[in-house]
């Protein structure tokens, strides 16, 4: 039975992935072309040779891009202007695909990778929300940053999931069932995004993403944080929520027994959590922010099992996403491997850190990160509202202030999480060593 369910979950995931890849859902935007500029014409147009196919296109340069600014014979990503959702041949933006990597940028990637990995190993998700903006601030084009980050996410999640499975924390079956339903959620999320993009354009889409981000993160983050605070004060072990207990009692076939998580629940109740995880992943790129709390409060898993199981989901979804972005040839493997170099240490440190801390510590880190990150995204909302004409345009000083708030909130989230995890881990290790010494002293005495 167990094998059958796992096989079914894997098959479902593969089928969905295959159909999505073939249908072309997700992945990079359609108005993005990759290739080389080979000639600039006097009439302010340029000959562009598409990568792989070798097809040549005549692209119109806008007034703000001077012919001498166009990088020649260097692989670039060109964003084309769209009018009424029709892609034109006018250039909107040109980005160099492979940034130069001086030692300072290499160090920056390693540091962000290490802390992102630590967070991922500890709370099961995170990293992506800070890695992508960090890479973009280093000058990496947005699409390449998303693709390279995605490609580093799934091997990292795989290593983290394996470690936590070894510690007896990850429920692989639950992870696969959730991942299969999350892929359905991603499809729904993409359709909603497309609908919003078609009706309200880029500014509308940005506003929707930011609003969703802030609302979900504030509501869920506050609850997780409050729950952790209560547990830390009372010193009690975490209890399964009433909602999860009630759902587990409903005998609605097919009932599935998840051995590691020690839960028997109907498939119909795991599905909404999985779908919501996928939808959030497609909307704000961090599905774990709903997946982990969903597993804890709706399904009834402990925080340790939930955060470990989320890594299994992250692996399946990350692999599927990487294949999609890889099909468009947008992964900069140098960035992927530099982040991996440090994040593989981070993810294992974070994973073994969970063996030293009490269950509520994971909730504290998760709640804190969610709340601080929501500030970062919230600071972007005034700008998007102005873009949509829903408020007066922002003064340049205000734009700079909001940008600074957004950036420093991300840095704070990452720094705070890194410090909390490290301190909790060191404290746990010292405590464990002291206990060991005590035991030795007793046995020798």
């Amino acid at each position: 039975m167990k094998r059958l369910v796992i096989a079914l979950a894997v098959m479902l995931a593969c089928c969905l992935a295959a159909t999505t890849v073939l249908a072309g859902g997700g992945g990079p935007p359609k108005n993005l072309v990759k290739g080389f500029f080979i000639k600039i014409n006097p009439d302010n147009t340029a000959v562009f040779k598409k990568d792989v196919t070798g097809e040549e296109m005549i692209l119109k340069l806008p007034e703000d891009i001077k012919p001498e600014d166009v990088p020649m014979n260097r692989k670039v990503l060109v964003t084309l202007k769209t009018i009424d959702h029709e892609i034109t041949n006018e250039v909107k933006r040109i980005s160099i695909m492979f940034i130069n990597l001086p030692p300072s940028k290499v160090v920056a990637l390693l540091v962000v990778g290490l802390i992102g990995g630590l967070l991922s190993g500890f709370i099961g998700s995170g990293g992506a929300f800070v890695l992508t903006p960090s890479m973009m601030s280093l000058g990496v084009p947005g699409a390449v940053a998303v693709a390279s980050n995605m490609c580093h996410k799934f091997p990292k999640a795989m290593v983290g999931a394996y470690k936590r499975w070894k510690y007896g924390q990850a429920d692989v079956k639950l992870g696969l069932v959730m991942a299969a339903s999350a892929i359905i959620g991603v499809q729904i999320g993409i359709q909603i995004q497309k609908y919003i993009l078609d009706h309200w354009g880029n500014a509308g889409s940005n506003l929707y993403v930011s609003l969703m981000f802030v609302i979900i993160l504030v509501v869920v983050g506050t609850y997780v944080f409050y729950d952790a605070y209560k547990l830390s004060k009372g010193g009690k072990e975490a209890e399964t929520t009433k909602l999860a207990l009630a759902l587990q009692k409903i005998n609605l076939p097919p009932m599935i027994h998840f051995k590691q998580a020690n839960i028997r629940i109907s498939l119909w109740f795991t599905l909404p959590v999985g779908v919501a995880t996928g939808m959030l992943a497609a909307t704000i790129a961090v599905g774990g922010f709903i997946g982990v709390p969903g597993l804890i409060y709706v399904i009834g898993a402990s925080a340790v099992v939930a955060s470990a199981t989320e890594l299994v989901i992250a692996f399946v979804m990350g692999m599927w996403g990487s294949i999609q972005w890889g099909l468009s040839g947008l992964i900069d493997i140098r960035l992927t491997l530099l982040i991996l170099a440090a994040s593989l240490f981070g993810v294992q440190l974070g994973a073994l850190g969970t063996t030293y801390v009490k269950d509520y510590m994971i909730k504290i880190v998760m709640g804190a990160v969610m709340l601080i990150v929501s500030v970062s995204r919230g600071a972007k909302i005034p700008g998007y509202l102005a873009d949509l004409g829903l408020r007066e345009p922002l003064a340049p000083q205000a734009v700079a202030l909001y940008d600074a708030i957004s950036f420093w909130a991300l840095v704070t989230a990452l720094g705070a999480a890194g410090i909390i995890i490290t301190v909790a881990m060191i404290r746990g290790m010292l405590q464990a060593k002291a206990e060991e010494r005590k035991k030795e002293a007793i046995s020798h005495g």
């Binding site: 290593v159 040839g329 900069d332 440190l349």
Partner: protein, 117 residues
């Protein structure tokens, strides 16, 4: 499994001696077991150093090869279509090798999970 059974047998024998009032014999039996497990980490440490060095060297070599052929790599890896196998496969291979190196290295410097899983 068999070592666990042996350990179980030994513990039961020691308990039997202890119950019979032969505390010294029981303690000796337990100590001999303890001695064996105490020696184990030492033996493991040597293996751990070797493993860390091997995985570290392979990982470093892989990074060196990739970054010294960066022009070829960035061209071939971003051709799209079936070339997606390159970045996805490389990321997987690096995570196995470099992940094993990181794991062994952390154990070597004494950072291990609680209970020594």
């Amino acid at each position: 499994m068999s070592t666990k059974l042996n350990e179980f047998d030994k513990n039961m024998m020691a308990a039997a001696f202890a119950e019979a009032g032969e505390h010294e014999t029981a303690r000796q039996m337990m100590d001999s077991g303890g001695g064996a497990t105490a020696k184990k980490p030492k033996k493991n440490k040597g293996a751990l150093v070797v493993k860390t060095l091997i995985f570290g060297a392979i990982s470093l070599g892989m990074y060196y090869i990739l970054f010294s052929n960066v022009d070829w790599v960035t061209t071939e890896y971003t051709k799209g279509g079936w070339h997606t196998v390159y970045p996805v496969g490389t990321a997987l291979a690096f995570s196995f090798i470099h992940g094993a190196f990181a794991s062994n290295f952390l154990s070597l410097i004494g950072i291990e999970p609680k209970g020594g899983h």
